[in-house]
């Protein structure tokens, strides 16, 4: 009980300290360079009042979640096939190792040309950003399934298809989950880039557009919104994983960012 109390007290002190440093920086450099906590709150109130902040957060959420879900759904079966079929892996692995070094944002212009200026190009970009991380992690998972598990299933009469369904998929579950969770972080990075370059809405657009009015306080609002959005989704995904996938050995700790 005492330790619990200490933890919350030190956490509160840390936050108060952080805000104090922020306030000090604002005081030293002036509100144009570093808008302080009060100025940022005021900026947030403006953006909330005209409804643009909720709208932007909503649209960014929508893009990220749609693209991320799509990328995960496509990535898992692809990863399973590449991991399971040696012939496919021999062909796909060099390609994967080539393409995974190209950051998603580098594709933005091409995606605009291919999928148009609308939502499709942004969702395609997130799908792409998610896809390769999920494929790589699923593939790694399939390759690290212990041979003994496959052998014992085989000697108990399981067919190749049953081995995939009842041994490889469940054994790979923690890897898939790690991939999906890592991809969430990359998706946020990709969507902000895309919204800065080619969008009229979204948190990325807000951050980029604020430069026209020299509203650094709005930029701060955008940055904080992003942090909160990422934090909330990551915790939610982690919590769901821990609850639903416990038996597969999924633990709730946050994976390292790529």
């Amino acid at each position: 009980m005492k330790r619990f109390g200490n933890k919350w007290i030190s956490l509160a002190l840390l936050w108060i300290g952080g805000v104090a440093v922020w306030q000090l920086a604002a005081y030293l450099y002036g509100p144009e360079i570093v808008p302080g906590p009060a100025a940022t709150l005021k900026g947030a109130a403006e953006l909330l009042a005209d409804g643009s902040l909720p709208k932007y957060i909503g649209i960014s959420f929508y893009r990220v979640l749609t693209g991320w879900a799509l990328g995960s759904l496509i990535g898992i079966p692809i990863g399973l096939v590449i991991g399971k079929v040696n012939a496919v892996r021999a062909f796909a692995e060099p390609f994967l190792n080539f393409i995974r070094f190209i950051p998603p944002i580098a594709f933005i212009t091409l995606f605009l040309v291919w999928f148009g200026i609308g939502e499709q190009s942004k969702i395609a970009l997130i799908t792409y950003a998610t896809l390769f991380i999920v494929v790589m992690n699923t593939l790694t998972g399939v390759l690290s399934v212990e041979e003994d598990k496959i052998r014992s299933a085989r000697s108990m009469g399981a067919s190749e298809w049953q081995i995939v369904l009842h041994v490889i998929v469940p054994a790979t579950m923690p890897y898939m989950f790690t991939g999906i969770r890592l991809a969430m972080g990359t998706s946020y990075m990709a969507i902000i880039g895309a919204e800065m370059i080619a969008a009229n809405e979204g948190v990325g657009f807000l951050i980029w557009n604020s430069r026209l009015y020299f509203r650094t306080d709005w930029i701060f609002v955008g940055l904080i919104s992003l942090g909160l959005m990422g934090f909330v989704t990551d915790r939610l995904v982690g919590w769901i994983g821990r609850k639903a996938l416990y038996r597969y050995g999924v633990v709730g700790t946050a994976p390292a960012r790529r």
């Binding site: 052998r151 014992s152 000697s155 108990m156 009469g157 579950m173």
Partner: protein
Amino acid sequence: MSLATSENSITIERLNKSYPGPSGADVHYIIKDVDLVVKSGEFFVLLGPSGCGKSTLLNIIAGFVSKSGGRLRIGESEVSKPGKDRAVVFQQADSSLFPWLTVRQNVEFGLKMKKMPKPQRKEISDRYIGLVGLSGHENKFPRELSGGMKQRVQLARVLANDPVILLMDEPFGALDAMTRRTMQKELSRIWRETNKTVIFVTHDIQEALLLGQRIGIMSAGPSSNITNIYDVPLPYPRDAAAPEFYELYRTIQAHFDE
């Protein structure tokens, strides 16, 4: 009668496992020209130093590893692939059990693969979980069990599929001395109750003498072979303190000291 009993026998003739040497011309043998007949219902122990090819021989019999030459028959039929007639108990329970399944689900795995209806599955799993002394632990996950209990799960899991042959690869090698002793007694009892043909691999002379009706000594590799076969004409359950036991122990020990 003689036909029925020969069904579960294992006949090995001039069995080889080799791989090409670095120069390509010379051939390296792991095991060379192994001849062995294990009778139906017999408990046969393969005893030899680490790295002598015991496990290779066992894996060939299991069908996990392909032979390079010679013949292998179960009953009258030639085999080269894993089959439900031969069940394998692995040394590492952690790598062969399915951690996402409960004890009962692990034991019912093979039955589920052949789509046996649930009530029937439960009846069989109840019987074998009881036989290995795990009643009351049906709904636990492998991670909640001790090393000895996990090996009991492995044993129940393979017995549930009613194989005629049990292939055991140092299954008690990773257990502490006391648990190992209990497991040896249990296995001996289960073998006498179920009348399976067993090939048991170990490098422990005492374990070999406690369990086996016959003990085949494998020479150190490469090109290893079964050099001697000892009959163990002692009644079960065996008494490690009996003078006859000690006599045999010394004979086999002398064999390795040479």
